[in-house]
């Protein structure tokens, strides 16, 4: 089936010169967009149009464009990564929108993710949380032989689910409290479930939570919005595990 054509779309886009400037919404029109176009390609089309008109193109983050790197962000029409569930913005397509629609496009809004330019935010805060403890300290050498370290299937599966986190920041961006708990939980959970990571589980949970608090993310109130918007469907059951790991660690102190 041939793709339909969206004759006209109105885009309300957040424009901000740099981190220090005051930003504001600007309205643009794009025409004749095929429904097979991805959302980011639609923005590319807009940008070409802007370049032709000698206007500054809209800055937005992107890299792999296949849902694996976590670089693309964008709050599209009131939802992180747009109206589809379980996708990144680069996986969102224009078939999701009606002809004549007005689409509001904003950067992640979260105190710990300051806007750098237009739709790009600085997500270094997540790197800092990882640096605080999201690793295994010892050099684990080359790839071990399969089954040299026995790991129960359910544990391996759960660790793998947590490891799917791509650090996109949608969890904190969507959370009404700007809490980074889903991201931190995914990292803590992934390593705490495996023998290599278990040894440092207590130190890791304490260090990563302390860093998260220090960076100004909010306090989780278990609304569950993060897991609904997470492109990798990370379950908030990992947050329960993080709470367990943290409490265990603190009780031992």
């Amino acid at each position: 089936m041939a793709d339909k054509i969206l004759k006209e779309l109105t885009l309300k886009i957040w424009r901000q010169k740099d981190a220090k400037s005051q930003g504001g919404f600007k309205t643009y029109k794009v025409h004749n967009i095929s429904t097979g176009t991805s959302f980011l390609e639609m923005l590319d089309i807009l940008n070409e149009q802007l370049v032709e008109q000698n206007e500054e193109p809209v800055a937005f983050d992107h890299d792999c464009r296949e849902g694996i790197c976590g670089t693309c962000s964008l709050f599209v029409d009131g939802r992180a990564h747009g109206p589809d569930d379980d996708v990144t913005t680069c996986q969102l397509h224009m078939r999701r929108f009606e002809d004549g629609a007005t689409i509001t496009i904003e950067p992640w809004r979260c105190g710990a993710f300051p806007v750098i330019k237009d739709l790009i935010v600085d997500r270094k805060a997540y790197d800092k949380i990882l640096q605080a403890g999201g690793y295994v300290s010892v050099n684990t050498g080359g790839v071990p032989d399969a089954n040299a370290i026995p790991i129960a299937n359910d544990k391996a599966e759960e660790a793998m689910d947590a490891a799917a986190c791509i650090g996109c920041g949608a969890c904190a961006a969507t959370c009404k409290n700007s809490s980074a708990m889903l991201f931190v939980a995914a990292k803590v959970s992934q390593l705490a479930l495996l023998p290599q990571g278990k040894i440092e589980a207590a130190r890791r949970a304490k260090a990563m939570v302390a860093k998260m608090d220090e960076l100004g993310f909010g306090n989780c109130t278990n609304t569950g919005a993060c897991e609904m918007e997470c492109p990798k469907s990370i379950s908030i059951s990992h947050i329960a595990r993080l709470n367990r790991e943290f409490l265990k660690a603190k009780l031992k102190d």
């Binding site: 309300k12 957040w14 919404f25 709050f75 029409d77 009131g78 939802r79 109206p83 509001t104 904003e106 809004r109 979260c110 105190g111 710990a112 806007v115 969507t174 009404k176 409290n177 700007s178 809490s179 708990m181 939570v209 302390a210 998260m212 608090d213 100004g216 993310f217 909010g218 306090n219 989780c220 109130t221 278990n222 609304t223 569950g224 919005a225 609904m228 918007e229 379950s235 908030i236 059951s237 947050i239 329960a240 595990r241 993080l242 709470n243 367990r244 790991e245 943290f246 409490l247 603190k250 009780l251 102190d253």
Partner: protein
Amino acid sequence: MSNFLTSSIGKKVIMSLSGLFLILFLCVHLSVNLLLLVSEEAFNAGCDFMALPFIKVIEPVLALGFIVHIIWASVLTIQNQKARPAKYAKRCQSQNCTWASRNMYILGALVLAFLALHIATVWYQFKFGEITSHYEFVSSFLKQPCFGVIYIIAAILLGLHITHGFWSAFQTIGFSNDIWRKRLECIAYFFAFVFAAGFSIIPLYFMIFGN
């Protein structure tokens, strides 16, 4: 344990434990209240039991439970507001979480407003007033539609607070996983319904059959 109480999870654990304690209190409170529907003697006996010294000592603990829950709720809510200095222009939160979970502070504050009214009227009279029959007092109080209706609304607001609060409290202390979460959410709705219906049925009963 040094900085446990100032960490985000530590603060949440305090919310959780104080909240669960308040739920426990509500179970006792509702059980006694429901004696109103049994008979005058039963309810008065219940009130006499609640006035026994070994029950009375719990009162300050209960007050403390409320105070802690309210103070920590306010601290958390203020911090959470500050964590997002610039707001979204467009937001569809109904797509990803429940209304009650987003409005816990408003629901709590409304329950608190009701609590103030309840303390100023019924509780004060029970404690310091000259009451011959507690049953008589309550029935003539709740018969007045203005109070009856307020009590029913408060029961529903409390129920909404519990729909999220109950399961959230267990999640906070780490007692949840993909299987238990569904169970806890079911139990949360059960408790919410029992509290909302249980506390509403009493003013309804007196407003309808009170004369």
